[in-house]
């Protein structure tokens, strides 16, 4: 029960932050991405605020043996820079630029009675499912470059 409340409150605080920063408004996001138009740097400040808080807090947190409500810290260890990462991120960027929605604001929009996300979220989930299906196909060419070489 504590774990569920922790996750619920983390999600709610994240959603509140998205709304406070206006990042759930696609026009605000697109104004940041429109570097050749009326550029609005607000999104950069959201990143600066979030990254600064997380960078400091994270370093203090992982000195502890374990999180409060779980046995271990689950930290991604992958460091390969491969075609999947580059291609995936390129596709994501195109979708982001096409709509002004990344996954967080898209889900937050479900609570803001924003009609956009009722078209976007189902196809986003479907897209994630397709990617999973592809990834399991053995023919997927994966070329890796050691991260250290970068």
């Amino acid at each position: 029960m504590k774990r569920i409340l922790a996750a619920l409150s983390a999600g709610a605080l994240f959603g509140a932050g998205l709304d406070e920063s206006n990042m759930a408004d696609p026009r605000k996001v697109l104004a940041f991405l429109d570097v050749f138009g009326q550029w609005d740097p607000s999104l950069l400040w959201v990143m600066v605020g979030a990254v600064t808080v997380y960078a400091i807090g994270y370093r203090l947190l992982i000195r502890r043996d374990r999180p409060w409500l779980a046995h271990t810290f689950n930290l991604p260890t992958a460091s390969r820079i491969d075609v999947r990462l580059l291609g995936g991120m390129a596709l994501f960027g195109i979708g982001w630029g096409l709509s002004g929605y990344c996954p967080g604001p898209a889900l937050a929009g479900l609570g803001l009675s924003n009609p956009d996300v009722f078209a976007l979220v189902p196809s986003m989930l479907f897209g994630g499912w397709i990617a999973d299906y592809w990834s399991k196909a053995p023919s997927l060419p994966v070329k890796t470059i050691a991260a250290e070489a970068k």
Partner: protein
Amino acid sequence: MGGHVSNFTPWSALYGGILIGLASLWLMATLGRIAGISGITYSLLPPKAGDALWRVAFVIGLPLGACLWSFWHGHAHATSHAPAWQLALAGLLVGMGTRLGGGCTSGHGICGVARLSPRSLVAVPVFMATAMLTVALIRHVFGSTP
């Protein structure tokens, strides 16, 4: 970086960013998990026993928090006025891309960058570049919206 700076809201952006950073820290402090929205969501398709409830709670909390905060602050919320097919196509690309690339603006952009993850430090400039290029093409080459 041409054009004029317009509608810049540095303070609400910074406050909101700090809230997002605190939310991500809270999830790490309590459950030891990275606050990556795409990863948290997609790992529910299909749900795995013992690992689903916290994900469901987070995914419900996100719109709930946004909803409550918007009531409190009275933000006027607007939509993009993009046609449904464009939103659906965008969703498909966002879903495929973030699943293949293992993260989005939150997992790579915030947590990964703050942890100096090499994958995230590559991911962010790649998706920023293709997103900016897409907007440039839509708005300034084809003269379309949004």
